[in-house]
């Protein structure tokens, strides 16, 4: 292959062959990301509520879960779910294992985002709502959550970027996402540089706009906090 010009010649010549194949994989990447995002958001909210609860039977297990997940690699967790569960007789398809694994992993990070966001809403808001006769649930649902979510938007954006990148790990549990397809394509063609550069561009096409969005939301949140103070 030799020189850099040779690299680009092959890159452009093979683009029409590689791109459709890899785009099929990228679609699966986005499905894995979307599926685990939904799991992480719902489970994360429940974990955040459990973590803050007065009931020790809820707050302690939630705390242990969050610390365990945040203290260990996502790759190890995926292996536990895919290879570990298979040993116990529960063989999950790679795609399901990847979505479940990344969702369970993300829930711990999302829970911390919710906790920080809820803590940032001044307690006076809650006290005012209660004294106006709202139930604790109504206060949570209509007063605290809407204000907290605004503060949490940049962090959720950053989490989405992290998640998109983490979906590449699904390739090692044989989920047919873009890295999995890329590795198979490299085996066939030996054009590793061209293929991985192309895959990299696909990730960047999502992660860079998200990162710009996160930056804008961050500046807006800082301004909002400044105006409130």
């Amino acid at each position: 292959m030799g020189s850099m010009s040779g690299f680009w010649t092959i890159f452009w010549a093979k683009l029409s062959e590689f791109l459709p194949n890899l785009l099929v994989g990228f679609e699966v990447t986005l499905i894995v990301a979307a599926g685990s995002f939904v799991i992480a958001m719902s489970l994360g909210l429940l974990l955040a509520i459990a973590r803050q609860s007065q009931n020790r039977w809820a707050s302690v297990p939630a705390g242990i879960y969050i610390e365990f997940i945040r203290g260990t690699p996502a790759l190890t967790q995926l292996f536990i779910i895919y290879f570990g569960l298979a040993q116990l007789g529960f063989s999950l398809p790679g795609l399901v294992a990847a979505i479940a694994g990344l969702g369970l992993n993300g829930a711990a990070y999302v829970a911390e985002i919710f906790r920080a966001g809820l803590q940032a809403v001044p307690d006076g808001q809650r006290q005012a709502a209660i004294s106006l006769g709202l139930t604790p649930y109504q206060t949570f649902r209509h007063i605290r959550i809407p204000q907290a979510v605004k503060l949490m938007m940049p962090a959720f954006c950053n989490y989405a970027i992290q998640l998109l990148k983490d979906t590449s790990l699904a390739s090692v549990v044989a989920a047919p996402e873009v890295m999995f397809r890329a590795r198979a394509l490299v085996m066939e063609t030996y054009l590793s540089m061209q293929i991985y550069v192309l895959v990299g561009l696909m990730y960047l096409s999502i992660s860079i706009p998200l990162s710009i969005l996160a930056g804008r939301l961050q500046r807006r949140t800082v301004k909002m906090a400044g105006a409130a103070a």
Binding site: M1, G2, M4, F7, E67, F68, R70, G71, T72, P73, A74, L75, T76, Q77, F79, I80, F83, G84, L85, A86, Q87, L88, I161, L164, K165, D166, T167, S168, L169, S171, V172, M179, A182, V186, Y190, L191, S192, M193, Y196, V197, V199, G200, Y203, L204, S207, I208, S211
Partner: protein
């Protein structure tokens, strides 16, 4: 049960050695990233628009790519394009993590420097310090203190991310765990056990980071 305990005991020495390799990979990549981040941060804060543009592109690309893609480009891609490039998997992993980490640390440095009040620098320059002296003796140390908690968070994240190096067969905890899992046919106990190793390495670091964060908030 005693059989399982005996297994754990027999895996322990190998996993301790591998934990050392994980630590080495983490610290080497951190050191590389910390040094590489200095010129990137300087370019990002430079007056020249082209320098800033270069730094911004570098940061966005390095942060936007999965580290697995970076590792594959270095380990599988580079030798194809540059045939004389023959680094082993460990060196490739250190390089890959350092390249990505330098983008994150450059942003942490910049945030730290920007957070130090302008007046500090103006006062130092007014007292006759050169801008470089002001950075090294006045704003730098304050920025370092501000940047310490996010640097700690990055280090914890890096420690866990080094597990990805096992995919290019760099010798560290996760690779050793994979070997043990396939030789023993017991993935569940092996991966749970290796999780404990990661926890032992990461929990003290994340606790320390949290303490530093709380201290800063109180200040």
């Amino acid at each position: 049960m005693t059989d399982l305990l005996a297994r754990f005991a027999s895996w322990t020495p190998e996993l301790i050695t591998a934990a050392g390799q994980t630590l080495y990979l983490t610290l080497a990549a951190f050191a590389g990233a910390a040094v590489l981040a200095i010129p990137i941060c300087a370019m990002k804060m430079s007056k020249s628009a082209s320098m800033r543009g270069f730094a911004t592109s570098y940061i966005e690309v390095a942060r936007g790519l999965p580290v697995l893609v970076i590792l594959f480009i270095i380990y599988f891609g580079l030798p194809d394009v540059i045939p004389s490039f023959r680094w082993n998997s460990m060196s490739c992993a250190i390089l890959g993590f350092a390249l990505q980490g330098s983008a994150l640390l450059a942003e942490i440095y910049r945030a730290g420097i920007n957070a130090v009040e302008r007046g500090e620098k103006e006062a130092s320059v007014a007292l006759g310090l050169t801008p470089l002296q002001a950075l090294v003796h006045v704003t730098g140390p304050q920025a370092f203190r501000i940047g310490l908690p996010p640097m700690g968070n990055y280090l914890v994240g890096l420690l866990k991310d080094t597990s990805i190096a096992s995919i290019i067969a760099a010798p560290e905890l996760m690779l050793r765990a994979k070997d043990l899992s396939s030789s023993s046919f017991m993935p569940m106990p092996v991966y749970i056990y290796v999780s404990l190793f990661y926890l032992i390495l990461s929990l003290p670091l994340s606790q320390l980071t949290r303490m530093l964060e709380n201290k800063r908030v109180r200040q």
